[in-house]
C-alpha cells in the first residue's frame, strides 16, 4: 500500500465537504453555458433530418445574407477526420459527403444572437439523396450495402472479435450441466442535467482557447490540434465543471470543433449550447447488446467453461465502440472462477446516434446476462443463488483465464453483508414456489459484479504516465495542486486536496485546486473508466511526498532535529518527541525555499504492466478491481405489470474510502441510475426507414424521480488494495452493475416470469404472465442471435495450463 510515512491518518477516511461544494450551492460555479465574453457570437448546428443520405449540395447563401450572420462553415472547411480511438478516426466535425443518422451535423452558423443563428440555420439549403438505412444489429449483419462506413471488418460490421482461453469444449464435456441463454439489454443514455456547451476564443496572438463541458480535455486538445491543423501548443482546452457526465462528455464533439473554427474565422468568441434534443443525438451512451451465454457447471455450481457472445448496436460512428466491444467480454472472469473462457463480440454500424461509454462501459449488459443466467443455473441445480456465487469466488491475488490480475477481492464479504442485511435466508424460498416465504408478487433477488479502477493501457499507445500532478508551495504558506483531471461532480478536485493536505499536514480547504486546463495542468487522461481517484491519488501522493521531503530537510536543519522525528499536522512541522518544538507550515515553506529555491514538485502514475500479451489484451487489465453485491426487494403487481423496487441492499468493496460521504453518494447514485436502466430508460427509434428517436425529451424519456427511487441500504467494505492510494479503489461505476440483474432475479422470485430483456417494463411482464398462464414458457426475451461466420478464435493458453499470456501461433488447417 502506498502509505505516507506518518503512521496515522488525520484526514483520509473523514467525511469532509467537497472543496467546491459551497460554490455549487450558491450559484457561483461557472458551467460552460455561464461563460459570457464581450462580442460573443452564438453558434447553431444544422443537423440532418435524414438517417442515411448523400449530401449533393449545400447552399448557405441565404443564411449568409441574413443580417447578423457572421459565418457559415460546412464539411469542406474541416476535412480532417477524428475520433476518440486511434482505430476509428471516422468522424468529421460537419458531414462532408453523407449523413449517417438523424442529428448528424452538416453546417454551423455563427450569428449575433441565438435567435438569428437559429433563423440562419433554417435558411441553409441542403440537397440530399436518401440511402437505404440499417437500423438493427440483424440488418447490419445481413445487409452489406449500402455501407455506412467504408471501413470495418465487413459490410456494416464494424468489428468482430474472437478469443478463446483454454479449450471451452473440453470444459463443457467435463460439466454436469451445460446451459445456454439469450438476453437483450436495450440502449439508454446518460442524460446529464447540463446540456453540452462550449465557448471558443481565438485571440490576436493566434492562440485558441476552448471552454467546454468535457470529461476529457486532453483528448479534445489532441483532436483540435489534428482537425484544425494547429500546433497543440497554440490551443488551450479548459474543461468547465461538468453538470453531470456519466461518460456522455468523453468524446471530442462536433460542436467543439465547430465553435473553434467559427471563432478563428470571425475573430470573435463563439458559444454553443446544445438543446436537450441535441444531447439525445450526441448520445455515446449504452450500447444495445444482444447476448448469448453458454456455461458448463459441475453439480456444486463450479464453472467448467463459459462461452459468451455479444452483438452490439454501435450506431453511426466508432466512438469508443471497439473498446466497448471488448468490455462486453472482459470482466466475466473476475468474479467467479472461470477456468476456460471463449468470447466472441461483434459491433454493428447502424443509422442511429453513436453509442459509446456510459457508467460501467460495456459491462452492465454482460453482467446482467451473466447474473440472470447464473440464477437460472442455480435453480436447475436447486442451489441457493447465494451459495453458487459464494463458493466459487475468484481468489485474491490471482490471474484469470484471460490474464486479468486480481489484487484485493472483497466480494465474499460484500455477499455476506447483503445476505445478512436483507435477511435472505428467511425470505428466499429456495426455488420452492409452492411454499413461498414472501407473498406472491413480492420478490427478492441477488447479483454480484466487479469493475476496473482505471484502464491498464491508455487510449493512444504511449509510454508516458496516465496521470500527472504538480504542486506549488509559496512562501506565504499557500499550496496549489494542479492536475489535468476533470471534476464531473464525483469530487475528484476534492480528492486531490484531501490527499495533499494529509501528507503536508494542512487543512484541505487551505489548498487551491487547479484542474482540467491544458495550459496550466499536467496531463491526466480524463474522467472515465473509474480511473481518477486511483491514478491522480497516487500521483498526488508522489508529488506531496516529494514536497514534504524538502520541507522536513529544511526544518530539520533549522531546528537541529533528526528528519525522521519530524511530523506534519495541524499546519505545523514539529518534533514528534517534543511537539512544542516546531515551525508553522508557512515558516517551513520559507525555510525550504531559502534552502532549495522555489518549491515545486511533480508526481505521476503509470499502471503496472498487465500479464496479458495477446492481441486484444489491452481492454480489461486494471491496477485493481472493485467488487459489489446487491439484493433487491421488489413488488410486482401481476394485474398491471408495474414493478416497484422497494429496497436495495448493496455492499461495495471500495478498498478504502478517501472520503466515505462521497463514496456513499456514488453508491446511491449508481443504484439510482441502475434502477432507471432496469425499469424504464431506453433509447428507441421508430422502426420505419426514418430511424427517428421516439422521444428525445426529458418528459418522455422516462428516468426515475424521487417517487421511483428506492430505499438503499449501503455497506462499505474496506479491503485496501496495494495499488490504490491509501488502498482506495473505484466507486463511481461499479455499484451500478449488480442492481439490474438483482432486480430481474427478484421479479422472477416475485411472479415466476423471466424477463430476459432490459428494461423490464409492465408490458413485458404482462406478456410473460399471459404466456405462463397459457402453459407457454414463462419468459419474455430474445430466442436467437444472428448467424455469423466468426473468424477462428485467437487461442491463448490459460495461466493454469502454463500459458505465458501470448497467443498460440495460428495453425493452418488442411483437409
Amino acid at each position: 500500500m502506498k502509505n505516507p510515512k506518518s503512521n496515522s491518518l488525520n484526514l483520509i477516511g473523514k467525511p469532509f465537504r467537497k472543496v467546491d461544494a459551497r460554490a455549487k450551492c450558491v450559484g457561483q460555479t461557472k458551467f460552460a453555458d455561464d461563460i459570457v465574453l464581450p462580442r460573443m457570437l452564438f453558434c447553431k448546428l444544422l443537423r440532418s433530418h435524414l438517417p442515411h443520405a448523400l449530401i449533393k449540395r449545400i447552399d448557405a447563401s441565404k443564411a449568409l445574407a441574413l443580417p447578423g450572420v457572421f459565418a457559415v462553415v460546412t464539411g469542406k472547411d474541416l476535412p480532417i477526420p477524428y475520433g476518440i480511438l486511434p482505430v476509428s478516426q471516422d468522424e468529421h466535425a460537419l458531414c462532408i459527403d453523407k449523413v449517417r443518422f438523424v442529428g448528424d451535423p452538416v453546417a454551423a452558423v455563427a450569428a449575433i444572437d441565438e435567435d438569428t443563428a437559429f433563423d440562419a440555420m433554417n435558411l441553409i439549403e441542403v440537397e440530399y439523396e436518401p440511402l437505404n438505412t440499417i437500423s438493427t444489429i440483424e440488418e447490419a449483419v445481413l445487409i452489406d450495402e449500402p455501407r455506412i462506413h467504408e471501413y470495418g471488418d465487413s459490410g456494416n460490421v464494424h468489428k468482430k472479435v474472437s478469443l478463446e482461453f483454454g479449450n471451452v469444449e473440453d470444459g463443457f464435456a467435463e460439466a454436469d450441466l451445460v446451459r445456454e441463454d439469450v438476453f437483450f439489454y436495450e440502449g439508454n443514455t446518460h442524460l446529464p442535467m447540463e446540456q453540452h456547451a462550449a465557448v471558443a476564443h481565438f485571440d490576436a496572438d493566434q492562440k485558441l482557447t476552448l471552454w467546454s463541458s468535457t470529461q476529457t480535455p486532453h483528448y479534445v486538445h489532441r483532436a483540435l490540434a489534428k482537425v484544425l491543423e494547429m500546433p497543440a501548443s497554440h490551443i488551450r482546452v479548459i474543461a468547465t465543471p461538468n453538470g453531470g457526465g456519466f461518460g456522455g462528455k468523453s468524446d471530442p464533439f462536433n460542436h467543439e470543433v465547430a465553435v473553434c473554427k467559427l471563432a478563428m474565422i470571425t475573430g470573435r468568441p463563439v458559444k454553443i449550447t446544445l438543446t436537450r434534443e441535441e444531447v439525445f443525438y450526441c448520445h455515446r451512451g449504452r450500447h444495445p447488446v444482444l447476448m448469448k451465454v453458454k456455461t458448463g457447471v459441475k453439480n456444486d455450481g463450479a464453472i467448467t467453461a463459459m462461452h459468451f457472445q455479444s452483438f452490439l448496436d454501435g450506431g453511426a460512428y466508432g466512438s469508443y465502440g471497439v473498446a466497448s466491444t471488448f468490455y462486453t467480454g472482459a470482466l466475466q472472469t473476475v468474479t467467479y472462477d472461470v477456468p476456460r473462457y471463449k468470447f466472441q463480440g461483434l459491433r454493428a454500424f447502424t443509422n442511429k446516434p453513436p453509442c459509446g461509454p456510459k457508467r460501467g462501459h460495456g459491462t452492465p449488459q454482460p453482467r446482467y446476462a451473466l447474473e440472470v443466467h447464473l440464477d437460472k443455473i442455480a435453480e436447475q441445480l436447486r442451489m441457493d443463488p447465494v451459495d453458487i456465487r459464494r463458493r466459487h469466488l475468484v481468489a485474491p491475488n490471482s490471474v484469470t483465464a484471460n490474464y486479468l490480475r486480481v489484487g484485493s477481492m472483497g466480494l465474499g464479504e460484500c455477499l455476506d453483508k447483503v445476505v445478512a442485511g436483507s435477511d435472505w435466508k428467511n425470505r428466499f424460498s429456495g426455488w420452492d414456489f409452492a411454499n413461498r416465504k414472501l407473498p406472491y408478487g413480492k420478490g427478492i433477488g441477488i447479483a454480484c459484479s466487479s469493475y476496473i479502477c482505471g484502464a491498464g493501457l491508455p487510449i493512444y499507445w504511449n509510454n508516458m504516465p496516465q496521470s500527472g500532478v504538480q504542486l506549488r508551495l509559496d512562501r506565504q504558506g499557500g499550496v496549489c495542486v494542479m492536475c489535468g483531471s476533470t471534476d464531473i461532480g464525483q469530487g475528484s478536485d476534492s480528492i486531490l486536496a484531501y490527499i495533499v493536505a494529509e501528507i503536508l499536514g494542512i487543512d484541505p480547504f487551505d489548498i487551491r485546486v487547479v484542474t482540467a486546463d491544458t495550459d496550466l495542468t499536467p496531463v491526466d487522461l480524463g474522467s472515465y473508466s473509474s480511473r481518477v481517484t486511483l491514478m491522480t491519488g497516487n500521483a498526488a501522493i508522489q508529488a506531496a511526498e516529494r514536497a514534504r521531503e524538502l520541507l522536513v530537510m529544511a526544518v530539520a536543519e533549522k531546528l537541529g532535529v533528526p528528519i525522521e522525528n519530524l511530523s506534519l499536522a495541524e499546519r505545523r512541522v514539529f518534533d514528534v518527541e517534543n511537539p512544542e518544538v516546531g515551525v508553522s507550515f508557512a515558516e517551513a515553506v520559507v525555510l525550504a525555499e531559502s534552502k532549495f529555491g522555489t518549491i515545486g514538485t511533480v508526481g505521476s502514475y503509470t499502471p503496472p504492466r498487465s500479464p496479458g500479451k495477446y492481441k486484444g489484451s489491452g481492454v480489461g487489465p486494471s491496477p485493481a478491481y472493485s467488487y459489489s453485491a446487491a439484493v433487491a426487494e421488489v413488488d410486482v403487481n401481476p394485474d398491471t405489470g408495474i414493478v416497484v423496487v422497494e429496497r436495495v441492499w448493496i455492499a461495495h468493496d471500495i478498498g478504502r474510502s478517501i472520503n466515505p460521504l462521497l463514496v456513499m453518494g456514488q453508491v446511491e447514485g449508481s443504484v439510482y441510475m441502475a434502477l432507471g436502466e432496469i425499469l424504464m430508460e431506453e433509447m428507441t427509434y421508430r422502426t420505419n426507414r426514418n430511424v427517428v428517436h421516439k422521444f428525445p425529451s426529458l418528459l418522455e424519456y422516462k428516468s426515475p424521480t424521487t417517487m421511483e427511487m428506492c430505499d438503499v441500504k449501503t455497506y462499505l467494505i474496506e479491503d485496501p488494495d496495494p495499488n490504490g492510494p491509501y488502498g482506495a479503489k473505484e466507486v463511481g461505476q461499479g455499484p451500478l452493475l449488480p442492481v439490474p440483474p438483482a432486480v430481474a432475479n427478484a421479479v422472477y422470485n416475485a411472479v415466476g416470469v423471466r424477463i430476459d430483456e432490459v428494461p423490464i417494463t409492465p408490458e413485458k411482464i404482462l406478456r410473460a404472465l399471459k404466456d405462463k398462464a397459457r402453459g407457454r414458457e414463462a419468459r419474455y426475451g430474445p430466442d436467437t442471435v444472428p448467424a455469423v461466420s466468426w473468424p477462428d478464435p485467437l487461442r491463448v493458453l490459460t495461466p493454469a495450463e502454463g500459458g505465458d499470456g501470448t497467443e498460440m501461433p495460428r495453425v493452418a488447417v488442411h483437409s
Binding site: D33, G243, G244, G665, G669, S703, M707
Partner: protein
C-alpha cells in the same frame, strides 16, 4: 428585432428595472439580461425542474414563465438565498452532506426545498419526496438531498439533530 419592453420587479430583495425582448422567458431574462447565471436549464420545456425559482414565495419553472409576467412581483433566485454572507441552512447542509454532486440541479432543488420548509417546517420523508418530485437529479439518487433537507429543517426548527452514522459511513 423585437423592441425591448421594460419591467420593474423585486429581485432577491432589490428593486430591479430591466428591459428585454418581450418574447424572452424569465429564465432567459435572469441569465442573459441580468447575468444571474445561477439559475440553470435542463430542457427549457418545463420537464426537469432545473430552472425553478421562487415567485412570490412559490416555486415556478422560469423556462415556462415570460419575463414580462414578473412585473411587480417578488422573484428569488439561488443568488438571493443566502442571508448576506451566511449560507441558508439548506445551502449549508446540501454542501456538507454531498447533496450537490455536479451541482447543476442544486439551485432548483434548493429553492423548491426552501418553499417546502416555509410551508412545512417538519416534513416527513414522503412529504420531501412529493415536494421534490418535479426536480430531476442524475447524480445523487436523491437520498443525500433528502438527508440535507431533513438536517436543515431540524436546524431551522432549532433542534439538534444527528445525521445517522450509516448515512455517512454505511451500515456496519
Amino acid at each position: 428585432m423585437n423592441s425591448k419592453k421594460q419591467i420593474r420587479f423585486r429581485l432577491n430583495g432589490e428593486d430591479t428595472e430591466i428591459a428585454f425582448a418581450p418574447h424572452k422567458t424569465l429564465l432567459e431574462v435572469l441569465r442573459e439580461d441580468l447575468n444571474l447565471t445561477g439559475t440553470k436549464h435542463g430542457c427549457e420545456l418545463g420537464e426537469c425542474g432545473t430552472c425553478a425559482v421562487l415567485v412570490d414565495g412559490r416555486s415556478i419553472l422560469s423556462c415556462l414563465m415570460l419575463g414580462l409576467e414578473a412585473e411587480g412581483r417578488e422573484v428569488k433566485t439561488i443568488e438571493g438565498m443566502a442571508l448576506g454572507a451566511e449560507l441558508h441552512p439548506l445551502q449549508q447542509t446540501f454542501a456538507d452532506l454531498g447533496a450537490a454532486q455536479c451541482g447543476y440541479c442544486s439551485p432548483g432543488f434548493l429553492l423548491v426545498a426552501e418553499e417546502l420548509l416555509q410551508k412545512t417546517p417538519n416534513p416527513s420523508r414522503a412529504e420531501i419526496q412529493e415536494a421534490l418530485s418535479g426536480n430531476l437529479c442524475r447524480c445523487t439518487g436523491y437520498i443525500k438531498i433528502y438527508e440535507a433537507v431533513e438536517l436543515a429543517a431540524a436546524r431551522m426548527r432549532g433542534e439538534t439533530y444527528e445525521l445517522p452514522k450509516e448515512s455517512i459511513y454505511g451500515l456496519e
